[in-house]
Amino acid sequence: MWSRRSFMAVPAAAAAWPVMAQFRVDISGVGATQFPIAVVAFDGEAGRTQQVSAIVRADLERSGQFRMVPTDGAVLNERANPVMTAWRSRGADALVAGSITRLADGRVDVRFKLWDAVRGQDLGGEAHAVADADLRLAAHRIADYIYEKLTGERGVFATRIAYVTQAAQRHTLWVADSDGEGAQVALASAEPIISPAWSPDGRELAYVSFETRKPVVYGQDVATGQRRPIASYKGSNSAPAWSPDGQQIAAVLTRDGLSQIYAMNRSGNNLRRLTTSAGIDTEPAFTPDGRSIYFVSDRGGSPQIYRMPAAGGSAERVTFSGSYNISPAISPDGRWMAYITRDGGAFRLQLMELASGTVTTLTATAHDESPSFAPNSRLIVYATRVNGRNVLMTTTLDGRIKATLLSNRGDVREPAWGPYGR
């Protein structure tokens, strides 16, 4: 399944570009309830490259829905029979313990168990045999298991985000864990990179690169680095969007004059024009059932968001508040649309419930851009400006819990939240 071809790829350490983008994560706001949970240091994790229990704790805390209970140096693993009354008296409603062992083939066996300390019940656990390089991933999967067992919602800690940083004349497309850690360079360029878009299977990124001194849409296999131009027509090529089955791509081309939306298959063949307005049509976004495309058009005089059938055809306007609405993102469960509205001079993230058309404002910042939903449809990542610096932020759909991802690698923009199933 995974190709060993790497003729385009460079080992990260040998590249002249920076390898790690470090994020500082600041949380504001808390959930309506915070579950007190104790996560004991995993047996065998001391001295390893990643502290699995620390990653699990940080993931759960970052959600704003959990409060960590100190473990006071307790020594436990997943095979223990912990004394629940002792943990309850420490204030914990749930307990996690585990172990890490080296396997004969060089991989690492990570095991854990989750207990309900209130009912004294075993909530199960798992064993993950992973390569050393996937230790962070194993920790995120453990956090996802705990999150889902205790909240009933699917977690997204094991997912990835793509984003672009710019420092001086260097533009870099990164792929990182959803907490911003473990960042690796997918593309390093002297020219701008915008609009990264994950394929539905999470294996590829489409993006717009200006490396040939004009915007061209590329598709790149994230693991191998192998890439191909998808749209490289005369004029500008931009705004790639994948259909939910991963077989089609919608993009914006100017080959026939001004910016219009076209569909093509994932290799760039079978080009079909979808819009035929006299204005600008851009920023296509498929609905999760693949039957419609939301997009931006200024055919009415100013940019508004419209919806049309995925094969093109008559479009219906969807935004009616304000004179400038752009950057639609549709939640994977199909219920919500996040977008950016210009209000006075401020550009601000909005959330529309599609069934009712009700709109709420999610932020108080003034330079919001590029919203993207997490695959559980419960979080949105977006770019914004705080204290003069371009940063990434995540927010819950009610706007209550926000996390700021502040990079020390320069301005951060253009986030795209990857799908499940890495």
Binding site: R141, L150, G182, Q184, E191, F210, S327, G421
Partner: protein, 178 residues
């Protein structure tokens, strides 16, 4: 909602099975493997599901400046405007004469916007500026195959700053002879 009722909810919701991401997950109530036997989807001890390979983009060819040309290279636009101003018509006419007299020459027209607004919509607005210059040149007799209009949107500002002075210098089309 307390933990008790949530666990009940969780149990009901997850009756069908535990979340199982791709990977070699084994539930703990199964017989633990004595040795590794479950292959990870990528196979082998060295392959990782976290691997990202780096591509370094080759730098585009530098634009060739015509040493003999004394023509200005930049045309500026008013806010929210995509109309070629009269003061730049002499510049455009100069390029038209150069290009019509030498059909081998090509001209790349790059449209730009100031920093306000979203990247993709600004890419389209920058395109309108490049198109305005391209149309003016075609009307003066330059052949379509000598011209290409592209946009950088707000991605390559000429002047830094969040004020009208900087914004005015960024609302432009650049003319690059090849």
């Amino acid at each position: 909602m307390n933990l008790r009722s949530l666990v009940t909810l969780g149990g009901t919701v997850l009756l069908a099975g535990v979340l199982s991401a791709c990977g070699s997950n084994v539930k703990l109530d199964e017989t633990p493997p004595v040795e590794s036997r479950t292959a990870t989807p990528v196979g082998g001890a060295g392959q990782s599901q976290s691997q990202v390979s780096t591509v370094t983009a080759p730098s585009g060819s530098a634009s060739s400046l015509d040493a003999a040309s004394q023509l200005a290279r930049v045309v500026y636009f008013d806010f929210d405007s995509y109309v070629l101003k009269d003061e730049f018509r002499p510049t455009v006419s100069g390029y038209a004469r150069l290009l019509t007299s030498d059909p081998q020459r090509r001209l790349m027209i790059e449209g730009h916007t100031d920093e306000r607004g979203g990247s993709e919509y600004n890419l389209a607005l920058g395109q309108k500026r490049a198109e305005a210059v391209r149309r003016a040149l075609e009307l003066l007799g330059v052949r379509e195959n000598q011209l290409e209009a592209v946009s950088y949107g707000k991605e390559r500002p000429a002047a830094a700053g969040s004020n009208e002075e900087a914004w005015a210098k960024n609302r432009r089309a650049e003319l690059i002879l090849r």
